[in-house]
């Protein structure tokens, strides 16, 4: 169920990829001086387009090609083939011109100057991006207020916690009013409160400024709370492009209720669920991800000696694995 994009020309398309690919030569040491060369298709003929003001989630397992795609979109990497445009600019050819139009946040590493106070980085951005004074002041004030940075401005970046640093990085990426914001794993390693704050900020940014946002993530909740559209990539190929609900359908994904009972019992029977695992007094019940857990919980509490209970979201790897199986089955059905 691979989608071939419209090949360009959708009106309002702000980011356009047409059969973009990236091939790496990976060299592996196999002996003292011997090396083995292997070609790896990190991104394999991906096509999609994103309209101005869209907020899109880009997900997939580790090594699927997410970061490689982002690096091509920002001009860090040169594609091996295909056509790529962001705001009408070819990123790898006009990297510095594009830089004025985009903001980038890498979850794992900071774009801030590590040893200097946060405000120094912002002042430097001000000059380097040639941001008009009034606009810089307004944008900085807004970010400082919404991301609660006031007490952090004079703190050296290396002394910030991960969540604080992430907020600092997001502000740095927005001072020059970029048209598009790329976020590579923006909530990785953050605590619940920091995650919520970052998500709320991004939602407002998109709603008020119409900033186009493309984010990669491991966390399906990021997508649930932020993105109307999600793209799934695996092994360098686009597996799915559409709303999140459709992804759950396509992947037939299931959530899991982890139920702690007072004592060991035979597998409990609740309509709409099935027991997938039993371990002493703890049982795991799978149910379709699209359904609400509330009535199930009520029913279990009603009929069984319930001690504790939690809900596990489906992980992306499982959803994708099921999607593979489903599309393979679908292809067979089409053939017969």
């Amino acid at each position: 169920m691979e989608l071939d994009g419209p090949g360009g020309g959708t009106d309002g398309a702000f980011i356009e990829l047409d059969r973009v690919e990236k091939v790496f030569d990976v060299r592996k040491k196999t002996g003292f001086l011997k090396r083995e060369r292997r070609r790896v298709r990190a991104v394999d003929a991906i096509s999609f387009s994103v309209a101005r003001g869209e907020m899109v989630g880009y997900i997939g397992p580790n090594g699927a090609g997410k970061s490689t795609t982002i690096k091509m979109l920002t001009g860090i990497l040169t594609p091996s083939g295909g056509r790529l445009r962001v705001a009408g600019i070819d990123p790898s050819r006009e990297r510095t011109r594009l830089a004025q139009r985009i903001g980038v946040v890498f979850g794992q590493r900071t774009t801030l100057w590590w040893d200097l106070p946060l405000i120094d980085s912002y002042r430097l951005m001000h000059r380097m991006y040639r941001i008009p004074d009034a606009r810089y002041r307004a944008n900085l004030d807004r970010c400082v207020e919404l991301l609660e940075l006031a007490d952090l401005l004079d703190v050296p970046v290396r002394q910030l916690s991960l969540g604080q640093r992430m907020r600092g990085d997001i502000a740095a990426a927005l001072l020059h009013d970029p048209d598009v914001l790329y976020l590579d794993e923006p909530t990785i390693g953050l605590d619940v409160i920091s995650k919520a704050r970052v998500r709320e900020f991004l939602r407002d940014l998109n709603a008020e400024r119409g900033t186009t946002v493309l984010l990669t993530t491991h966390d399906l909740q990021d997508i649930e709370q932020l993105c109307s559209r999600v793209m799934v990539i695996d092994h360098g190929r686009l597996m799915y492009d559409g709303p999140l609900a459709g992804l759950h359908e396509a992947g037939e994904s299931e959530r899991t209720l982890v139920v702690d009972l007072e004592r060991e019992l035979p597998p409990i029977e609740v309509p709409g669920t099935r027991v997938v695992r039993v371990e002493g007094p703890r049982q795991w019940l799978a149910f379709p991800a699209a359904e609400s857990a509330a009535p199930l919980v009520a029913r279990i509490a009603d009929r069984y000696p319930l001690v504790d209970l939690s809900v596990r979201e489906p992980d992306i790897e499982a959803v994708i694995a099921k999607m593979y199986a489903a599309s393979a089955a679908g292809a067979e059905r089409a053939v017969s």
Binding site: L3, D4, G5, P6, T10, D11, G12, A13, F14, F24, D25, S49, A51, R52, G53, E54, T68, K71, T74, G75, I76, L77, T78, S80, A87, S92, R95, T96, R97, A99, Q100, R101, I102, V104, F106, Q108, R109, T110, T111, W113, D115, L116, P117, D120, R123, L124, R127, M128, Y129, R130, D177, D179, G210, R229, D241, G242
Partner: protein, 306 residues
Amino acid sequence: MAEITGAGPHGRRTDEETEAAVAPAPVPAPAPALASRSRPADGLRAYRLIAGMWLRSTMAYRASFIMTTFGNFAATALDFVAILLMFSRVDALGGYTLPEIAFLYGLTSISFGLADLAIGSMDRLGRRVRDGTLDTLLVRPAPVLAQVAADRFALRRLGRVVQGVLVLVYALGSFDVHWTAPKVLLMPLMMLGGAAIFCAVFVAGAAFQFVAQDASEVQNAFTYGGTTLLQYPPTVFARELVRGVTFVLPLAFVNWLPASYVLGRPYPLALPWWTAFASPLVGVGCCALAGLAWRVGLRSYRSTGS
């Protein structure tokens, strides 16, 4: 199985792509103030901004700055003490007297010190490639070379230059040279030419680190090793080595050749007299080649990602 060609929607397209039309009307992009600027000007500007920021941050801790600068000065000064000790036993080294050696020493210290002050941070490039922080420089609207060169700009490196100047002043006060106009002119020319040659070595070394990320030691061999080599007269080294640092890596143009002219000594390898004045040209040539190597390195990074 008949297939109708050319009619009807067939294959390859899905219908869910029409959402895009609902997006808000495109806002015209804010045109950057000056659309086309030259890259060198951009680079210099970025260098000035970043170095300025580091400078201001160092100056916030003035006492610490003075201490580290003095430390830098003292560490390099010990170098020269070693030479002084040597001359407490001998009267000449390779036919050169102490003031003449001090002359060579001062010149290379100044040239190398200036290069180290300006772009000494380049040897961190390998680490940036390894830990991925180079990517963060590539998304900024400024040339990467300028950003890497200006990173962690440290004025304390001026310590080496100051020490070189002091040694040079001592040398000039201790020997008799018949000063002519060309000799006087040659002094600033060789210092700047020498600094340019060392800058080229720094940039080329950094470019090599795109390919071999642990090569900063190799670079140190040519920069720190090079300046140590040049502290001694060419007459004490094997002919092949002198040939290498003249024609392959032209460090001889930093001080050996111009100093031979000023001191009225025979040229190494019996080179013609005008080679003493070639330092600036050699410096410019080296920088051009190093710039090219940098471009190749950066391009290979951007196509391989590591």
